[in-house]
C-alpha cells in the first residue's frame, strides 16, 4: 500500500467516525430547529416529530411582531462582544506574557490569587460586585457588561500563560540581548506565535459575551441598553412560557455565533499556516 493510499484510507476512516458521532451530537440541535418551526402545543408530542406536520414560521414572526427593537439589541450585544474581545487580546496577552516570562516578586502568588477568584461561586460575589459597580457609576451602562474583560480576564490569562510558557526562554533572552523591551518581545515575537490560541480565545469570549445573561440581568435596566440574552428572557410571561419562541430565539441568536465560528476557524487555520512557515 502506497503512502497516498494509506493516507486516503485513514482520512476516510477518521472522517466516517467523526461524522457519525457528529450526527448524534447534532440530534438535540436538529430537534430544536424542528420545534422552532412548530406550534407551541405540538412541541411536546410523542413520538417525536422530526419534521413538523404543519410547519409554521409563527415563532419567528412573533420575534419580529412584538414592539421590540431587535436590531438595536443586536448592535448593543455586538458592541459588548467586540469590547470583550479587545480586552481579552490586550489585557490577556500582556498579563499572560507577564505571568509566564517576566520575573517579578509575588508573580506566582498573584496568579494563584487570580485562579482562586474563579473558585468563588458567583452567587457570593454578586452582591459585593453589584455594590461596587453601583459606586463606580456603571449601573445601566453597556460598560458594565465588558469592563471585567479589561480588569484581568482570568480564563484568557491562564490559557495564554500556559502557551507563553511553552515558548523557549532562549528566544526571549536572545531578543533581550538585542535590546528589545518586554513590550516588544511580547507583541512582536510571542503574540504572533499565539495567533491560534488568541483566535480560540476570541471565539470563546465572543460566544461567552453573546450568551452572558446574569450580568445583563443585574446591571441593565433601560431598553436602550438591552442585550439579546436579556431580551429573550423578557418574552417569558407571568403564567406562560412560549417554547416555540424560546427555540426560535435560540436558533436566531446562534446565527451570528456560527458566523463568528466559521470566520474564526479560517483565521485559526491561517495562523497555523503562518506558524508552519515560520517554524
Amino acid at each position: 500500500m502506497g503512502r497516498k493510499a494509506s493516507f486516503f484510507l485513514s482520512q476516510t476512516i477518521i472522517g466516517a467516525v467523526l461524522w457519525t458521532f457528529a450526527v448524534f451530537m447534532m440530534l438535540p440541535l436538529l430537534w430544536m430547529v424542528s420545534s422552532s418551526l412548530k406550534y407551541n402545543i405540538e412541541i411536546f408530542a410523542f413520538p417525536v416529530d422530526w419534521i413538523p406536520d404543519r410547519p409554521t414560521l409563527q415563532a419567528y414572526r412573533a420575534l419580529l411582531d412584538r414592539s421590540y427593537n431587535f436590531p438595536l439589541f443586536y448592535l448593543n450585544t455586538l458592541y459588548v462582544a467586540v469590547m470583550v474581545c479587545l480586552g481579552i487580546v490586550i489585557v490577556g496577552s500582556l498579563s499572560g506574557y507577564a505571568f509566564a516570562k517576566i520575573r517579578f516578586v509575588g508573580r506566582d502568588f498573584i496568579f494563584m490569587l487570580k485562579i482562586a477568584a474563579i473558585a468563588i461561586p458567583f452567587q457570593v460575589t454578586m452582591v459585593p460586585v453589584f455594590i461596587m459597580f453601583g459606586k463606580m457609576g456603571l449601573m445601566d451602562t453597556l460598560t458594565s457588561q465588558w469592563i471585567s474583560a479589561f480588569l484581568g480576564p482570568v480564563f484568557a490569562i491562564f490559557l495564554l500563560r500556559q502557551f507563553f510558557k511553552t515558548v523557549p526562554d532562549e528566544i526571549v533572552e536572545s531578543a533581550k540581548m538585542d535590546g528589545a523591551s518586554h513590550f516588544r518581545i511580547c507583541w512582536q515575537i510571542c503574540v504572533p506565535m499565539a495567533v491560534p490560541v488568541l483566535v480560540t480565545l476570541i471565539i470563546i469570549s465572543f460566544v461567552g459575551s453573546w450568551n452572558a445573561y446574569e450580568p445583563a440581568l443585574l446591571f441593565i435596566r433601560s431598553r436602550e441598553n438591552y442585550v439579546i440574552s436579556l431580551a429573550v428572557k423578557i418574552f417569558q410571561r407571568e403564567y406562560f412560557t412560549d417554547y416555540a419562541a424560546t427555540m426560535a430565539t435560540t436558533v436566531v441568536s446562534n446565527i451570528p455565533m456560527i458566523v463568528a465560528l466559521i470566520l474564526g476557524q479560517k483565521y485559526m487555520l491561517r495562523g497555523l499556516m503562518v506558524g508552519a512557515v515560520k517554524g
Binding site: S10, Q11, I14, V17, L18, M25, M26, P28, L29, W31, M32, F44, F46, L94, Y97, A98, F104, M112, L113, K114, I115, A116, A117, A119, I120, P121, Q123, V124, T125, P128, V129, M132, S148, L151, G152, I157, F158, L159, Q162, K165, V167, P168, H182, A194, V197, V199, I203, N211, S229, T246, S253, N254, I258, L261, I262, Q265, M268, L269, L272, G275
Partner: protein, 292 residues
C-alpha cells in the same frame, strides 16, 4: 535590572490589580463577613447580627452539606473522561484534512447554544416514558431502559453526559489551538529519527500539550465544583438527594431559603476546597507538565 524587571511585570499586570481588588479581595472579604452573620439577603445590610463561627459549626453538622460534597466528588470522576474524549477528538480533527472545518463548527455548537433551551430538549430526549433515547433502547431490545433523570442511580450519569456533550467541542477546540501552535519541526525530527506515529504521540504530542491538559483539568475541577444551574434546570438536586451539589446548596440556601449567612459559609468552605484541589494540582504539575 531586577527593579526594572519587577516594575515592568507590575505594569503589565496593572489592570489585574484593580480586578483583583474588586472581584477578589472585596468580594472575598464581603462574603467572609456575611458568613459570620445571619444576613437573610433581603434585610438591609446594616441590620445583621454577628453570629461568629456558628454558621460553620452548623454546616459541619449538616447532612446535606456532606451529601453535596460527596456528589461533587463523584462528578470529579467525569473530568478525566471528558478531557480524554476532547483530546482524542482534537487529534482526529487535527489529522483530518477534508471537512475538518465543518466538523469543528458542529462539535462546538452545543457550547454556543442557550443552556435553558437545550436543557428543555435534553429533558425530552431522556424522557423515560416516550423519549427518543428510550424508544431507541427498546427498539434494540432493552426492555427496561433506565429512568435517567428520575432514577437515583442514573441521575448523576445523565447530568455528566450532558456536561460532556456540551463541553466536548469547547475542550477539543482548546486542544486544537495547542496542537496548531506546536511547531512542526519537532515532528519532522522525530520522523527522521524513525519514530512511528504512536511513539511520536507519546514522546512529543502529549508532553507538548501537557500545559493545555493541565489548564483544562484545573478549570474542569473548578467548574465541576461550582456547577448548579444545570442541576437546577435538570433535577433540582433530586431524585432524593442524588444530584445535590455544593453550588446548588449555596444557591438554594442563599436565594431561596434566605439564609445568606449560612450560604456564604458554605461558599467559603467550597472555595477553600477548590483552592486546595487547585494547589494540589499546581504542585503536582511538576511531575507531568512540560513547559519548553
Amino acid at each position: 535590572m531586577a527593579i526594572k524587571e519587577n516594575l515592568t511585570g507590575y505594569l503589565f499586570i496593572l489592570p489585574n490589580i484593580i480586578g483583583l481588588s474588586i472581584f477578589t479581595f472585596y468580594a472575598i472579604g464581603f462574603s467572609m463577613y456575611i458568613s459570620l452573620t445571619d444576613w437573610s439577603l433581603v434585610g438591609r445590610l446594616k441590620e445583621v447580627n454577628f453570629v461568629g463561627w456558628q454558621n460553620y459549626a452548623d454546616l459541619m453538622q449538616d447532612r446535606f452539606f456532606w451529601v453535596s460534597l460527596w456528589n461533587n466528588l463523584w462528578f470529579l470522576m467525569v473530568i478525566p473522561v471528558q478531557t480524554l474524549m476532547a483530546l482524542v477528538l482534537a487529534i482526529l480533527l487535527h489529522e483530518l484534512v477534508f471537512t475538518s472545518k465543518a466538523l469543528r463548527v458542529i462539535y462546538f455548537l452545543p457550547h454556543i447554544t442557550n443552556m435553558v433551551a437545550i436543557l428543555i430538549v435534553w429533558n425530552l430526549f431522556f424522557s423515560p416514558s416516550q423519549g427518543p433515547v428510550n424508544e431507541f433502547l427498546r427498539w434494540v431490545g432493552i426492555d427496561n431502559p433506565p429512568k435517567w433523570q428520575l432514577d437515583q442511580f442514573w441521575a448523576k450519569p445523565t447530568i455528566a453526559m450532558f456536561g460532556i456533550w456540551s463541553s466536548l467541542g469547547f475542550n477539543a477546540m482548546i486542544y486544537l489551538s495547542a496542537l496548531a501552535g506546536a511547531s512542526r519541526d519537532l515532528y519532522e525530527a522525530a520522523e527522521i529519527d524513525g519514530a512511528g506515529k504512536v511513539r511520536s504521540f507519546f514522546r512529543i504530542t502529549l508532553p507538548l500539550i501537557s500545559p493545555t491538559t493541565f489548564f483544562l483539568i484545573v478549570l474542569g475541577v473548578i467548574g465541576s465544583f461550582n456547577q448548579w444551574s444545570n442541576i437546577q434546570v435538570f433535577t433540582e438536586g433530586g431524585p432524593g438527594d442524588s444530584t445535590y451539589v455544593l453550588g446548588y446548596f449555596v444557591y438554594k440556601y442563599g436565594f431561596e431559603y434566605f439564609k445568606m449567612g449560612y450560604a456564604s459559609a458554605a461558599a467559603w468552605v467550597l472555595t477553600v476546597i477548590i483552592v486546595l484541589f487547585t494547589m494540589l494540582q499546581w504542585f503536582g504539575q511538576r511531575k507531568w507538565v512540560h513547559y519548553n
